[in-house]
Amino acid sequence: MTPPTGAAGEGRRPGVVAAAALAQTLLAANALLVLLPIGFMVLSSLKATREIFQRPFALPVVPRWQNYAEVWGAAHFAVYFRNSLIVTVASMALILVTGTLAAYALGRYRFRGNDLIFLFFLSGIMVPIRLAIIPLFIMMRDLRLLDTVWSLILVYAASGLPSAIFILTGFFRTLPPELDNAARIDGAGELGILITVLLPLVRPALAIVTVYNIIPIWNDFFFPLVFIHQDRLKTLPLGLTVFFGEFQTNWALLFAGLTLAAAPVLALYVVMSQQFIKGLTAGAIKG
């Protein structure tokens, strides 16, 4: 976390202190609101199903680590996990590579139609992609991509691109144009300028794009439900539904599965949060 600034200056007035206290309280409440279910999920994952209902908020009497082993072994969980990983990594790679290239062109070059293309990409943010599910389904069917991971990867990449281009183009535009020219005179090609000079400078933006896109992709239930039928191609959110029985649900295993499913994204968020914060505050202060 960054140290608090601004309000912590000398000669602070009561109003400022009260405002800061209110802000801190709200933030703490929000953090609690987010963390409680996660904690509850982790706790429950270490109990037996009976115990969850009998003593829902207590610490587990004896932590049942075997829940994790059982979930990993049961019901193709490892396969779902691998599928989710493939789909997410491939979608993110597509978003980052094509998004960066598009944003580089839109943000660093002036050409006829520049703004029009930018607006075209922006319009993608305004259209909820789920509205297009029927045409997308038909398109995937015609391309013979139904029931393949490609149906998911392509749709995720397409739905992530508008926001990625919006964020990255904004960042590219804040960098001084002389940087490109200096590199150009130094002997770098156009792609070289992007890779050696500009990319290291937009790293915070890449982090924002990653965090912003990776969670919805990793968690998505909707598109796998529509596009994927074979069990061996299911992703985690879809796969986890096997724990919801018609008459009975194995809550302990479900929570263990959810914890495992959430772990990579949480870890990524923790790792990238510094970059993420840097990205959000970039441009706020000069330098």
Partner: protein
């Protein structure tokens, strides 16, 4: 090292003509300064030479080769930018080595050149730092270093000193001159500051509205400005321009400004003969106006009685803002001058230093 030549070069941005039919010959090893007010096309001219802009028409030569279609990296030039344009994520060493690495120089050669340039600029101890950790002056040196290590044919500098504070600017000005004396690389330097231009340039190109006004040595620009614009641009405070008539009487010629009447030195009369009896713009520099009380003889000089509006003592001398009739006159007189605000003062014009301009074309007549 190479000469640089512009041949009828024009650059248009939409309807705006930034550089208008410019022909320039910049000899090898010379330090040439492009100077003019903002928007005069000097930076565009530099960017055309660098290859960052494409000429609308005309030819650009570096050495004996036309470089119109040559990419910036293949023009064998190095450029120093106003905001330095250092790569923020690279150390000083890497900033300087970047261009050489891209050109696949051997590692030992890169190391030698970077260290040598760093020593020349006195930044050896900064090589490991990032640009963010440097002061403005240090960043400026790194930017120069990045240009030097390339050992290019031509240095292009775009207002490299304008982001420095006044004291550092004067100091760096001298250092760049020294550097040029040592490296002897053809240098084209852009500035809007006429003092910088006068102190640094072997030759100065004065531009206005995309058109070259005059190309000359600093002294010639000062003494023989080609037109009203150059006369007003070079020198500080600027030259006084007064509307006057040339009148002839008994074989002598006078500048008749209404409230004053100043005799034209005999040797100038032939040049002004055809303007006799006509209106002209009479020009005289503030430093060529003296306090009458401090001048021993007033031969060949003319006296003007004027009211002192403002009195600015600079220590070394005094700037007087005077009003004589409808004329406003600025004079830079000796520090011992007793003229004070609100009083009437008598000043003497040194007519040997007079200038006369055509009121319609603004071209210099004398």
């Amino acid at each position: 090292m190479a000469k640089v030549m512009l041949e009828q070069v024009t650059k248009q941005f939409g309807n705006v003509v930034a550089v208008n039919n410019v022909t320039l010959d910049i000899p090898d090893k010379q330090f040439t300064v492009l100077v003019g007010p903002s928007g005069c096309g000097k930076t565009t001219a530099l960017r055309l030479i660098a290859g960052l802009e494409e000429a609308t028409s005309g030819n650009i030569y570096i050495g004996d080769r036309i470089v119109n279609d040559v990419a910036p990296k293949d023009r064998d030039i190095a450029m120093v930018f106003q905001n330095y344009a250092l790569y923020p994520h690279m150390s000083v060493y890497d900033n300087m080595a970047f261009g050489l690495r891209l050109r696949k120089y051997p590692r030992a050669e890169i190391d030698r050149r970077v260290k040598e340039a760093a020593e020349m600029l006195g930044i050896q101890e900064l090589l490991g730092r990032k640009p963010k950790q440097l002061s403005g002056g240090q960043r400026q040196r790194v930017a120069l270093g990045r240009a030097i290590v390339r050992e290019p044919q031509v240095f292009l500098m775009d207002e490299p000193l304008s982001n420095l504070d006044a004291k550092l600017r004067v100091q760096t000005r001298a250092e760049i001159k020294k550097l040029h004396a040592r490296l002897q690389t053809t240098t084209i330097y852009v500035t809007h500051d006429q003092v910088e231009a006068m102190t640094m340039g072997d030759r100065i190109v004065v531009m206005k509205d995309g058109v070259v006004q005059q190309v000359d040595s600093p002294l010639n620009l000062y003494e023989k400005p080609a037109n009203l614009f150059v006369a007003g641009f070079i020198g500080s405070p600027a030259m006084n321009f007064l509307e006057a008539k040339l009148a002839k009487q008994d074989g002598r010629m006078f500048v008749d400004g209404g409230v004053f009447r100043a005799e034209v030195p005999r040797e100038y009369i032939p040049k002004l003969a055809e303007w006799e009896g006509r209106s002209v713009i009479f020009g005289i520099r503030p430093e060529d106006i003296h306090d009458r009380a401090l001048v021993q003889s007033t031969d060949g000089a003319a006296v003007v009685r004027a009211t002192v509006d403002v009195h600015e003592p600079l220590g070394s001398d005094v700037i007087l803002y005077l009003t004589a009739g409808e004329h406003s006159i600025v004079a830079r007189v000796d520090a011992r001058s007793q003229a004070r605000m609100g009083q009437t003062a008598e000043v003497v014009l040194d007519m040997k230093k007079m200038h006369v301009f055509n009121p319609d074309t603004h071209a210099a007549i004398l």
